[in-house]
């Protein structure tokens, strides 16, 4: 429950800083909706009706971009956050911005890409079957950056995505008095040291 509120609403962040929360949440929700909409490119065969419902999600791209710009603005303008930022923090935002903007440009301007072709390519990817790609520059930028993003996922701060689910301060159950939690290394140590502790502490029986 605690975890669900944290992941969906960013509860702790809301408590701490309303602006960061606003921009951060806008960005993540925008991203999520946009990603859902992208599923159409991977769906094998014809699209079921349900995809009409997600059509309006394309406007989420704006939420995402606004969120990103807000976050970037804070990172530059607020002295405390500037202090703690490394170059990679900016680069990551720029990367996301480029992806977001190039995507939005394709969708909302007359630079439409041949979506059918994209779909063939994307579905092909799932089966390791390399199809031809459209060659519009926006699209290439877009997809290239996405690949970069995926490549650095495991070695960058994007690890916060799985991280939030593993955070002990958020996912542990409060039952220490009722249940004995002991990690394997501590248990091993306990057994090994039993003898020595008896010597130092006197009898324990």
């Amino acid at each position: 429950m605690r975890m669900a509120r944290e992941v969906v609403l960013f509860e702790s962040l809301f408590k701490s800083n309303k602006w960061t929360w606003l921009f951060g949440w806008l960005f993540h929700v925008g991203l999520l909706l946009v990603l859902i909409r992208h599923a159409r490119y991977f769906w094998p065969g014809d699209l079921p009706e349900i995809f009409l419902l997600v059509q309006p999600f394309k406007y989420a791209a704006f939420a995402m971009v606004i969120g990103l710009i807000g976050l970037m603005g804070r990172r530059i303008a607020v002295e405390r956050i500037r202090y703690i930022s490394a170059p990679s923090d900016y680069l990551m935002l720029i990367l996301m911005l480029v992806i977001g903007i190039s995507g939005a440009v394709m969708t909302f301007t007359s630079n439409h890409t041949d979506v059918i072709m994209v779909k063939q390519f994307a579905s092909g990817l799932l089966t390791f079957d390399w199809a031809n790609l459209p060659t519009e520059v926006h699209f290439l930028v877009h997809i290239f950056m996405v690949f970069v993003l995926m490549a650095i996922f495991p070695i960058s701060k994007l690890l916060h995505v799985p991280g939030v689910f593993f955070s002990p301060t958020r996912n542990q159950v409060d039952d220490a008095r009722k249940k004995r939690h002991i990690s394997p290394w501590a248990l091993r140590q306990e057994k090994e040291q039993e003898v020595r502790l008896n010597e130092t502490l006197g009898k324990d029986e």
Binding site: E6, F10, S12, L13, K15, S16, N17, T20, G24, R74, R75, V78, E79, R80, I81, Y83, I84, S85, A86, P87, S88, D89, L91, I152, I155, S156, K157, L159, H160, G163, V164, F166, S167, P168, T169, R170, D174, D175, A176, R177, K178, K179, R180, H181, I182, S183, W185, A186, Q189, E190, K191, E194, L197, L201, G202, D204, E205
Partner: protein, 530 residues
């Protein structure tokens, strides 16, 4: 950086200060020497190959504690925590912003344990562990009271306290320890308490106390020591044995036990609730201290273990005793070590139990009578101690650790107000002296770090004429006695919760056989010593 610093002024509103780089730079607290290091198993002085030792230690901690690794990896530098630490608010040194504090450790972690940091150190802010960095570690990880306020506000729950503990553990491993903590730990694991009070001294103190109370109230309240077969073993911070305002709390516990008619005892072998092993991050030492309590419980054949008013003691007791020493419940049948003790303990009570839980329960069952007007000269507010507020629970109900102490206080006094909501409960500001910082050589950071709490207190002093501050933590009490006068408060306004209880409680004259007792336990009660 010694004595020539300014005591921060109390602002009307707590503002986020402009950063002042390096104001709190310095050499940190006094370093431990060989005499105190060796007994704990740490090198006596900085070892020659310290870099290697430190990096290996970091590797060990990373694999041992999931928390450390997740916290180091998950931070997105969102900055939400930057204005949450009382030490930053009070000192304006940017390295006291929680994430910047973590980054001292994280940058080294990145350099040695992550792909990006190994190959693109500049890009991700990875740094080498050099002398300057080590000095920064020592200085700034001793400007963190491990209060966990930052973790409440972090979207990933990143707990800087955990990183501070890890950093201090690495420092100890290379032979750089903090004198205050390590000296105290030496006493705690050899003599049994942080003050180094041996059994005869302790016994004398308690006898004096008994005399004093009898003179004052006409009731023979006992403070039993090492009494085999008692029902309750009380583990309380050793400060309770001698200093004001702590001892008034101890007087209160005794009166409550007396009124309940329960048999209880303290132990001279395990006469310390505090466990500084946590502050230096050492599982082994924390365990050694906890095992003394286990042994005392076994030797004295008690069926309940109870903890006095102490913040981090309650965290260690509540969250770790079960793991460390088996004081608790729910161990696996095959787990001999824990079962030996858990079979002896009475499972109808929470094990361990906090003294506030105990008194609260008696109040609920109408076992105690109070004359609330005895505290009418006071207007009281309550300071949530960080370790109680953010690392434990009481009464087994959500937020019980905030509710129970307040209910106890309100049961014994008429005038109670809370401080500003954003400075209490889970967002409480640390007193400024926790986490092993309660030493005179850290007075500057202690005073600066107390500022946010003092500011909130000043507010209620103005609006509600609050003149009494209650805390249930020995460190908070000592710290407040010292810093209150710096901010123009009366140093004696800080009291124990059980001091208020003690003042209002109506004592029966020597009890005869009270048979209407609906106490859950009907054992042959061997009343007090001799």
């Amino acid at each position: 950086m010694a004595d020539d610093f300014e005591v921060p002024k109390l602002p009307t509103y707590l503002e986020i200060p402009k950063m002042n780089e390096g104001v709190m730079a310095g050499d940190g607290p006094f370093k431990s020497v060989e005499e105190f290091q060796t007994p704990l198993g740490f090198p006596g002085a900085k070892v020659d190959n310290w870099q290697e030792v430190a990096i290996n230690k970091m590797g060990e901690l990373k694999s041992k504690y999931r928390s450390v690794q997740v916290f180091l990896d998950a931070c997105v530098k969102c900055g939400a925590c930057t204005d949450k630490c009382h030490y930053f608010l009070g000192s304006s040194d940017p390295k006291n912003m929680p994430v910047a504090r973590q980054d001292l450790f994280r940058s080294v972690y990145r350099r040695h344990f992550t792909f990006a940091g190994k190959y693109f150190p500049k890009l991700v802010g990875a740094k080498e562990l050099d002398d300057a960095m080590l000095d920064d570690w020592y200085n700034y990880f001793h400007q963190c009271s491990q209060c966990r306020r930052c973790s409440v506000f972090c979207p990933y729950g990143i707990d800087t306290a955990e990183i501070s503990m890890a950093a201090r553990e690495v420092l100890d491993a290379v032979g750089i320890g903090q004198k205050y903590c390590n000296q105290i730990l030496g006493k705690a694991i050899t003599i049994g308490n942080n003050l180094g009070l041996p059994e005869p001294a302790l016994r004398d103190t308690l006898l004096d106390l008994e005399e004093e109370i009898e003179e004052e109230t006409g009731v023979a309240v006992k403070y039993p020591l090492d009494q085999k077969g008692a029902e309750i073993l009380l583990i309380t911070p050793s400060a309770d044995f001698f200093a004001e305002p702590h001892i008034d709390g101890l007087i209160g516990y005794g009166k409550v036990f007396h009124q309940d008619g329960v048999s209880w005892t303290m132990s001279s072998y395990a006469s310390e609730g505090a466990n500084f092993g946590m502050f230096i991050g050492s599982y082994d030492i924390m365990r050694k201290a906890a095992l003394r309590i286990r042994k005392a419980a076994l030797d004295l054949e008690v069926s309940r273990v109870m903890v006095g008013e102490c913040g981090h003691a309650w965290r260690v007791a509540y969250s770790f005793w079960n793991t460390l020493s088996g004081v608790g419940a729910g161990a696996d049948i095959s787990d001999e070590h824990a079962m030996k003790l858990q079979n002896q303990l009475d499972s109808r009570y929470p094990q361990p139990q906090h003294i506030i839980e105990y008194t609260h329960d008696l109040i609920q069952r109408n076992k105690l009578k109070f004359d609330k007007s005895a505290n009418d000269d006071r207007t009281v507010t309550f300071h949530d101690s960080c370790n109680v507020a953010r690392a434990t629970n009481m009464g087994g109900i959500p937020n019980g650790q905030f509710i129970l102490p307040r209910e106890v206080i309100k049961a014994v006094c008429n005038n109670y107000v809370d401080m500003e909501r954003s400075t209490i409960m889970e967002s409480t500001f640390c007193c400024g002296g926790g986490g092993g910082l309660l030493t005179d050589d850290l007075m500057e950071i202690r005073i600066k770090g107390a500022m946010p709490r003092m500011q909130a207190l000043k507010e209620v002093e103005k609006t509600d004429a609050v003149d009494t501050l209650v805390a249930i933590c020995a460190i908070c009490k000592s710290q407040f006695s010292k810093v209150l006068p710096k901010f123009d408060f009366d140093p004696y306004m800080i009291v124990s919760a059980h001091q208020l209880v003690s003042e209002a409680i109506i004592m029966d004259k020597p009890q005869t056989d009270d048979s209407e007792a609906e106490m859950p336990i009907e054992e042959t009660i061997t009343e007090t010593v001799e």
